[in-house]
C-alpha cells in the first residue's frame, strides 16, 4: 500500500515512535451524538412509561389522578423523539463521515473482515487486545446495524398500534398495512418484548464500551460527548489512507 502521494499528516510523525504524541481525530459528528443521546433518553423514558402501560403497577384511588393518561402522553412524546433520532441517524448513514456512513456497517473490505474476526477472537479471550479502529470496530458496527433495525421495528410496531387508536389517515398511510399482516395482539407482544432486548443490549453496550475504552485508552467514552478520539499516529495514518482510498479509489489504479 503506497502512501507516497498522500498529503502529509498533521502532526507530521513517523508511525511507531514510542512516546509519540497522540493524534486528535474527529470521529463522531454532532448529528451522530445527538441521535445517540436522543435514542438513549427516549428508550429509557419509553421503557418506564411503556412498562406501566403494559402492567400498571401503581393503582390510583384518588379522584383527581390522571396517571395512565400522563404515562401515555409521555410515551407518545418520547416516541416522537425516538423516531426523530432514528431518522437523523438514518440520514447520517448516507450523509455522514466515513465512520458513520453505511459503508462502515457492512463488512465488505479486507480490513473490516479482519476487524470482525479480530474482535470476535478478542471477546472470546483468544486475542490479547481489541482490533484497533478509530470508528466502530466491525463486529460492533454489525451489532449496531442490527439494533437500528430492531429499533426501526419497534418504531413501526409502536406507531402501528398508535394509528389503530388514533385513526389518523396520514399515520395509517405509513403503518396501516402492518396490522393487516400481523394481528394487533402479536404486534403488541413484539413491541413489548423488544424493550427487553434493548435493555439487554444496553448492558452489553455499556460493558463492552467500558472494556474497550480501558484497553485502548483512546477517549472512547468521552468521544460520544465530544466527538474526538485520541489515536496513535500510526492508526491515524491508517485511517487517513482508508479515507483517501474511499474518496479517490485504490492506489493501484493511478489517478490521471
Amino acid at each position: 500500500m503506497s502512501t507516497a502521494s498522500l498529503p502529509p499528516l498533521e502532526p507530521q510523525t513517523t508511525a511507531t515512535e514510542p512516546g509519540a504524541p497522540l493524534v486528535e481525530l474527529y470521529v463522531w459528528e454532532l448529528p451522530i451524538r445527538l441521535a445517540h443521546w436522543g435514542i438513549v433518553f427516549s428508550i429509557v423514558v419509553l421503557s418506564v412509561t411503556g412498562y406501566y402501560m403494559h402492567a400498571p403497577f401503581l393503582i390510583s384511588h384518588a379522584r383527581t389522578d390522571y396517571r395512565m393518561g400522563t404515562m401515555r402522553f409521555v410515551h407518545l412524546l418520547a416516541a416522537w423523539i425516538f423516531l426523530g433520532s432514528l431518522l437523523l441517524r438514518l440520514y447520517w448513514f448516507f450523509m455522514g463521515n466515513r465512520f458513520a456512513h453505511l459503508r462502515a456497517f457492512l463488512p465488505h473490505t479486507h480490513r473490516q473482515k479482519e476487524s470482525l474476526t479480530g474482535m470476535a477472537t478478542y471477546y472470546a479471550l483468544f486475542r490479547p487486545e481489541p482490533y484497533h479502529q478509530a470508528g466502530h470496530n466491525t463486529l460492533a458496527a454489525v451489532a449496531y446495524l442490527l439494533m437500528y433495525m430492531l429499533m426501526g421495528i419497534e418504531c413501526l410496531t409502536g406507531f402501528a398500534l398508535y394509528s389503530e387508536v388514533l385513526g389518523n389517515r396520514a399515520l395509517s398511510f405509513f403503518v396501516g398495512w402492518l396490522p393487516r399482516l400481523v394481528d394487533v395482539q402479536h404486534l403488541r407482544m413484539g413491541h413489548y418484548f423488544l424493550m427487553y432486548v434493548f435493555l439487554a443490549f444496553l448492558i452489553h453496550h455499556v460493558y463492552s464500551a467500558l472494556l474497550v475504552a480501558y484497553e485502548e485508552r483512546n477517549g472512547l467514552m468521552e468521544s460520544i460527548f465530544s466527538g474526538y478520539k485520541f489515536v496513535t499516529p500510526k492508526l491515524a495514518r491508517e485511517e487517513a489512507i482508508e479515507g483517501e482510498e474511499q474518496r479517490f479509489g485504490k492506489k493501484e489504479k493511478p489517478r490521471p
Binding site: A55, Y66, L125, G176, Q185, Y207
Partner: protein, 399 residues
C-alpha cells in the same frame, strides 16, 4: 329432507314468526303500509327511524329523509342463508323484546327464505329460494350467517344435498348486495379458528368477486344490520366501509374510546382481581385482559338486549369479537398479551424478556471475571511493528 351440518346447533325448522307476517302477500306494497297492517304504530315507526339515524351517526335532520324513503320504497326482497353457525345472529335479531328493531326490520323487508324461521320446509323451502334466484336475479338482498367449509369439496355443510359453497356462490353471485353478519360469515370466526378441520372461510373468501358488506361481532348487533339496510333503502348505496369492508359508522371507532370505564383507565384505577374493591367500584378492566383498546365496534353505544348493557358495563372485559380472527388472535381473553408459541401457557413474554436480560447480565459478569483473571494486555511499544495491527498503547505514561 335431511340437512347435514357440521357445527350448527339445533334448528327448529317449521314453527315461525314469518308465517303470520307472510312475506309473499306483502311484496310490492310500501314499507309503511305493511307496518300499519302488522300493527306497528306511527310512533314506533318514528322511534325506529330515529334509532337508525343515530346508529348511522347521521345528523338528526336525516330522520325525515329516512322516514320518507321507508314510506315510499317498495319492500326489498331478502334471503338469509345459514351455514356453519350457531344461529346466534338469528337469535340476536329475533330476541329483541323491544318491538322497534326486530318487528320493523322483519316488516321492512320481504323475507323469502330463512331456514330457522320460515314456515316452509324441505323442497318447498328450497323451491322458494330457487324462485327468488330465478325471478328476482340481481334485485334481492342476501344476508349470510355462518362460515363456509371448503375442505373435502365442502361436504361438512350441505343443505338439500348441495354444499354451502355451491349455494353461497349461486345465491350471493346473483344478489344485489350481500351482507355477512357475525364473525363466522365475516372471516370464518369460531369455525375457522385453529385447527379449522373443515377448512372454513368467510363469505368474502368463499365467493370472490362479490362485494360483501361485513358486520362482524359475536353476535352481530341487529341495529347495525338494520341500519345498513335502511341506509341502502334511503340513499341507494351501502354505507362507507373500512378496509375490512365493515361499515365505518359501526366499526370506525375503538371500543376503548367509547367506554364508560375510560376515565378510570386514564386515572390509573384498575380492577386487579375479579370481585375486588376496584371491580366492585367499576374500575377499568384493562389488567383483567380487556381487549377494548384494540377492538373496533360500536358495542358501547348501541349496546345489546335493547340497549340495556354490553360486556364491559356488565363487568367483563371485551374479547374483541368484531376483530379479525379474534378466537385465535385475541385469546387468552383474560390476559393482556397472547401466549408465546412454544413456551406453553404459563410463561408470559415478560418472563422471557427478563430471562434474556438475566442471560446477558450473567454473560457480562462471566466475561468481566475472565478478563480480570487473564489480566490486561500490556505491550512493549517496541514490539508494535511486529504485531498484526497497530496497538494504541504507544504512549509512555508519566507514571
Amino acid at each position: 329432507m335431511i340437512r347435514v351440518t357440521y357445527s350448527t346447533c339445533t334448528r327448529y325448522p317449521n314453527f315461525t314468526i314469518i308465517s303470520e307476517r307472510s312475506a309473499m302477500d306483502d311484496s310490492g306494497k310500501s314499507v309503511v303500509a305493511c307496518l300499519r297492517k302488522h300493527g306497528v304504530s306511527r310512533r314506533q315507526f318514528l322511534e325506529f327511524a330515529g334509532l337508525m339515524t343515530a346508529t348511522l351517526a347521521l345528523p338528526p335532520h336525516y330522520q325525515a329523509q329516512i322516514l320518507h324513503a321507508l314510506e315510499q320504497k317498495k319492500k326489498p326482497i331478502l334471503v338469509w342463508l345459514e351455514f356453519q353457525d350457531c344461529a346466534g345472529n338469528t337469535e340476536a335479531m329475533l330476541r329483541s323484546s323491544h318491538p322497534t328493531v326486530a318487528d320493523v326490520v322483519l316488516d321492512v323487508l320481504s323475507w323469502e327464505y330463512h331456514e330457522t324461521i320460515m314456515a316452509g320446509a324441505g323442497h318447498q323451502a328450497e323451491a322458494a329460494l330457487a324462485r327468488v334466484i330465478r325471478e328476482e336475479k340481481g334485485k334481492y338482498m342476501c344476508i349470510v350467517e355462518g362460515a363456509i367449509p371448503t375442505a373435502d369439496g365442502g361436504v361438512y355443510c350441505t343443505i338439500g344435498g348441495r354444499t354451502a359453497l355451491d349455494i353461497a356462490r349461486e345465491v350471493c353471485g346473483s344478489a344485489l348486495a350481500t351482507i355477512s353478519v357475525g364473525a363466522c360469515a365475516w372471516d370464518g370466526g369460531l369455525v375457522k379458528s385453529y385447527p379449522n378441520p373443515t377448512g372454513a372461510v368467510g363469505t368474502q373468501e368463499a365467493v370472490p368477486g362479490v362485494k360483501v358488506v361485513n358486520l362482524p361481532g359475536c353476535p352481530h348487533h341487529p341495529a347495525n344490520t338494520a341500519a345498513v339496510l335502511v341506509h341502502y333503502l334511503t340513499f341507494g348505496e351501502m354505507p362507507a366501509l373500512d378496509s375490512y369492508n365493515r361499515p365505518l359508522f359501526a366499526y370506525g371507532k375503538i371500543i376503548h374510546d367509547q367506554c364508560e370505564r375510560r376515565a378510570h383507565y386514564d386515572a390509573g384505577r384498575f380492577t386487579e382481581e375479579w370481585g375486588d374493591e376496584g371491580h366492585r367500584k367499576g374500575y377499568c378492566l384493562y389488567k383483567m385482559g380487556c381487549k377494548g383498546p384494540e377492538a373496533n365496534y360500536n358495542c358501547p353505544t348501541v349496546r345489546y338486549n335493547d340497549a340495556t348493557s354490553w360486556p364491559v358495563k356488565a363487568g367483563h372485559g371485551c374479547i374483541a369479537c368484531a376483530s379479525p380472527r379474534f378466537w385465535d388472535t385475541m385469546s387468552p381473553f383474560y390476559k393482556r398479551l397472547p401466549n408465546v408459541a412454544g413456551f406453553g401457557v404459563d410463561v408470559p413474554v415478560g418472563k422471557i424478556g427478563v430471562a434474556v436480560i438475566g442471560a446477558v447480565a450473567a454473560a457480562t459478569a462471566v466475561h468481566l471475571a475472565a478478563v480480570t483473571v487473564k489480566g490486561h494486555a500490556h505491550h512493549d511499544p517496541s514490539e508494535e511493528d511486529k504485531t498484526l495491527v497497530p496497538p494504541s498503547h504507544s504512549i509512555k505514561r508519566e507514571d
